[in-house]
Symmetry: C2
Subunit: 303 residues, 2 copies
């Protein structure tokens, strides 16, 4: 059931703090700035990757991996790889030709700070780094596990997942989408990578596909709830707290969960999804309490 | 020794023709246009990936794989994955914020034909598709082989390889590089992916790293020779035949092999490298004749 708390739970708060430190440490180690003409490229990657964001995806990977007693370093590395894809997509989505944003995570966007060319390349390099991390034996000694992580992430990030969803989202300004299409779009744009973060924890835990049904249901439901919460924040949130421009969907005339359902029904729908996410975890005991707290957080977060 | 031919050899011509057909067929099968708002994304990918280019990288993979009797489908798939990276890099390099080119392979560049947003995303999706192909069991049944292909390609494409070289190349317009730096830059920008194409053939052939020394030397030498030939084509070539704008390096005031060495010494250097590439293949018999023909072609090509 929904915990009904608005502040992060006693379980969630230290978990969010820990994963933020661990992911930052990974990026810091993975991206030492070389003493040559690539300096700006690495500075742009570090600017976008280090010291910001909720780290929701790495947290989902480590929280899921915890169910199966996976080595913490493996889970943090896999989560960092998924975060690489998330950060690269933010860099490219913020470009003038895409969403044209100046502010991200309370800082200038990469192209504002380092120019468009360096930003495009920094995104490309983080995209690449994701697969470099996953292919490295340090992420998991078993190549079967590593190649499954690679396959799953490539699928989630590509034209059938995140990037495909972003393309549909760009079209949403000129085409009128119905609720089914918006649901599919958001399932790809945001949901696919969130699902991948949970799936990665199960892959690291060597859970066979048929044992992942509950976790997949959980991931699908919190992915949609996350997006509805995002729409609500876009409409009602505080720009300073969010660290980015808000109210953009309405200005662009895009159909969203909010425009299609209205605020009250959208909020109700998100609550229902979070409740359903809890139901998907019913076969797990207290070891899944962090995943439960994350489901509540997705809805109650203020940024 | 160098064959001294200017026309593609009797061995090379059908090999170039075959790989072009096979790679086009792969892309055609991998990129069916969906009946939804992602149409432009897929059309942009197909526009850039199908029906153009020399397919040098897939040819290097299949020609190397042939030394070790690798299944043809595996080699073509791995070569197509590497070509995905090459094509994505062309799409992004052609963007207004990068090299700002209107013409590529005799056609409008992706952003000219489909707009910048679709071009950025099409590049991102082809980047992704490369790893999706390599992670697929159809590329090779053994996950050890697949994960090594992934690791090698991610390294070759990222900040320590192609993308890092492109960043250095952007800086070449404002900084004065010496010959050692230009050699390193080009080794990353062009050489890394060419080396990866040869390495992929050896990985598919289960050649242990210590058995790849000759092939690596061959790849390094033809990679540099390829770039010098590119500089010569940029200075002396025919725009209509090249299918892209030429004479851009001199206009931009970039140091290249040509500006640093002069035409005669640059040509001599390229010949020496191709000769050296032949030497690296001396332990192989006639089974390496196609690789030898490719080395000559790299220098003698007219586009």
């Amino acid at each position: 059931m929904i915990a009904g708390v608005t502040a992060p739970s006693a379980l969630l708060e230290p978990a969010l703090r820990d994963i933020a430190v661990e992911v930052d440490r990974q990026f810091d180690q993975l991206l030492p700035v070389p003493d040559d003409a690539r300096g700006d490229l690495y500075h742009a990657m570090r600017h976008s990757a280090i010291g910001g964001g909720k780290r929701l995806r790495p947290l989902l990977t480590t929280a899921t991996a915890d169910l199966f007693a996976v080595d913490r370093t493996c889970a943090v590395r896999a989560g960092t790889a998924i975060e690489c894809i998330h950060v690269y997509s933010l860099i490219h989505d913020d470009l003038p030709a895409m969403d044209d944003d100046d502010l991200r995570r309370g800082k200038p966007t990469a192209h504002k700070a380092f120019g468009e060319a360096a930003a495009i390349l920094a995104g490309d390099c983080l995209h690449d780094l994701a697969f470099e991390i996953l292919a490295d034996p340090e992420t998991h000694p078993d190549p079967f596990v590593r190649i499954e992580l690679v396959a799953d992430l490539a699928r989630a990030a590509g034209p059938a997942g995140m990037a495909g969803g972003q393309m549909m989202d760009l079209k949403a300004e000129s085409e009128q989408f119905d609720l089914a299409t918006v649901t599919r779009l958001q399932g790809m744009k945001t949901g696919a990578l969130i699902a991948c973060a949970v799936e990665a924890g199960a892959i690291l835990g060597r859970v066979p596909p048929e044992g992942r049904t509950g976790l997949r249901g959980y991931a699908r439901d919190i992915g949609l709830a996350f997006q509805i919460a995002d729409d609500l924040l876009d409409a009602e949130g505080d720009e300073a707290l969010a660290g980015k421009a808000l109210r953009k969907d309405a200005e662009a005339g895009k159909e969203t969960f909010l425009s299609l359902l209205g605020i009250d029904r959208a909020r109700e729908q998100a609550r229902m999804l979070v409740d359903q996410a809890h139901q998907h975890l019913r076969s797990y005991g207290t070891e899944a309490d962090l995943l439960r707290a994350i489901a509540d957080y997705v809805l109650e977060r203020r940024k």
